[in-house]
Amino acid sequence: MTEHAIDRGRAGRAAIDGRAAARRWSGLAWRQYRLERKMFWRNPSAAFFNFLLPLLFLGFFGALLHNRLRDLQVIVPGIAGMSVMSTTFNALAFNITALRELGILKRIRGTPLPTSAYLAGIAGNAVTNTVLQITIISVAGHVVFGLDWPNQLLSLAFFVALGVVCFASLGVALSHAIPNFDAAPAYVNAAFLPLIFISGVFYDSADAPRVIKDAAEALPLKHLIDGLSGAMVHGEGVGQHLVAALVLAIWGAAGLILAVRGFSWESRND
């Protein structure tokens, strides 16, 4: 056999090994994802706070504001933005803290399950909730509240995806700062509640006082809601919200760096 043939043989085998490894990886990530889904629905408080609460808000404000189309056009994308945040930021900050403090992360670390496949399963679970909620909110917006269908689907998908990456990594980053599971609700709500109030979830942020407006401009949620509102209500594409996309990308990049650098597989109290 010539050297070339041997090299080709090696390359071929490596490609087959690579494909088998990729299949195994995606199989493991899929199993983990399925397990996370199963556990999500078995945990009543997670299901409530991550899933039902934004929908309750939607029902409540929708009932309050029915027939006031202009207000509904503010509240529906506002609640969509809040859902992106609660299904990723809140959920992952809680989850990663709980998994770390319970010792589940450490136990998983001792098995041959690839870290990336494990985290993909967890992230996939959060993203599924985001997609389900955005779908429910869009459908309810049209069917119940009489808004038009979101007419910029590509832009909607773009901003949901960007919001997921941004808030998911910020949520994981926040989990590093949470010292124990009992403290998690305080830390998460200290970020979540002020952010949803200043970012125009419940009112048009243009009507807010100057200080609040400036704070909201610097933070990511207001920009996510701008992008979603453009896509869902005003028929605006990504091109009209480049600043919003840029701010989300910057927060997302910062969040990713902090999420990866501070990651701890075990409780610091051990």
Binding site: N43, G103, I104, G110
Partner: protein, 283 residues
């Protein structure tokens, strides 16, 4: 064959030296006990061997691998029972064990493993409904499902009631029967004595003695001679030469016309060696 090789292992946390240069070997198929009081460096040592912590110095090999490299092949051959257990609260025992089975290239049967750890009757129970002892059994099941060659057990019976401890001991003995190598840490002497083929006594990050539990007592070369005279309190003498001392004591007693009641000559038990060693080290 050596399953674990440790040479000159050191670990420092800032200023604190948790492990100060220890050496030991664990042979394949044996149960090796790392025995010592709390804070002796047992868990640090085991967590370095498990790949959770980086060592500060020395050499270790686990099944021929350096655990610090976190090689997936090595992790597939090792089962780990940690001191504090993290279990998915909303999964049943069977669901957890079946999910863990998927991590490994050649797992054992789910029901067989549930049987080995004695959880047959709790297979459909969710983890948040299990008792403390049952949770430890599930820990062990999750460590065994991958059919590991080597099992780490970090204080497997701490907090157990006596009956649960006996049951856990039977399970650990059954691991040896399955041909597993076991590295066990414990601060219970009787546990080391009951389970381990060989024991290393560790204190303040150093190994003070190593050997089979029986030989550790006998190996000290000392004997204890105990007796009472008349209504007096029991007395014990320690000696390197029991023949001579016994002759002296009996001769003196005969000369006085007394009997030595409850006369016995004994090797110190592992417990006595342990207490003596750990007391000396803390002086």
């Amino acid at each position: 064959m050596t399953a674990i090789e440790v040479r000159g292992l050191q670990k420092t946390y800032g200023e604190r030296e948790a492990v100060r240069g220890i050496d030991f070997d664990v042979r394949r198929g044996e149960v090796f006990g790392l025995l010592g009081p709390n804070g002796a460096g047992k868990t640090t040592t085991v967590e370095i061997l498990e790949g959770y912590r980086a060592r500060s110095g020395g050499h270790v090999a686990v099944l021929g691998h350096d655990p610090a490299h976190r090689d997936p092949d090595l992790r597939a051959r090792v089962g780990i029972v940690l001191q504090s257990s993290g279990i998915y609260q909303y999964l049943t025992v069977r669901e957890s064990v079946a999910h863990w089975a998927g991590f490994y290239p050649a797992p054992r049967e789910v029901d067989e493993v549930i049987g080995i750890v004695g959880l047959e009757d709790a297979g459909e129970q969710r983890a948040n409904k299990l008792s403390g002892g049952q949770k430890r059994r599930l820990d062990l099941a999750l460590a065994l499902i991958g059919d590991p060659e080597l099992v780490f057990l970090d204080e497997p019976t701490t907090g157990f009631d006596p009956a649960a401890r006996r049951a856990a001991w039977d399970t650990i003995r059954s691991l040896r029967d399955l041909g597993k190598t076991v590295l066990l840490t414990t601060h219970y002497l009787d546990e080391a004595q009951a389970l381990a083929d060989r024991v290393a006594i560790i204190k303040d990050g150093r190994i003070l003695a190593e050997g089979p539990p029986a030989a550790l007592g006998a190996g000290s070369g000392r004997s204890l001679i105990s007796y009472r005279t008349g209504d007096g309190p029991p007395r014990t003498h320690e000696t390197d030469d029991p023949t001579a001392l016994l002759h002296e004591l009996t001769a003196a007693a005969l000369a006085r016309g007394e009997r030595l009641e409850d006369l016995s000559v004994a090797r110190p038990s592992l417990e006595e060696v342990y207490l003596e060693l750990t007391a000396e080290a803390s002086e």
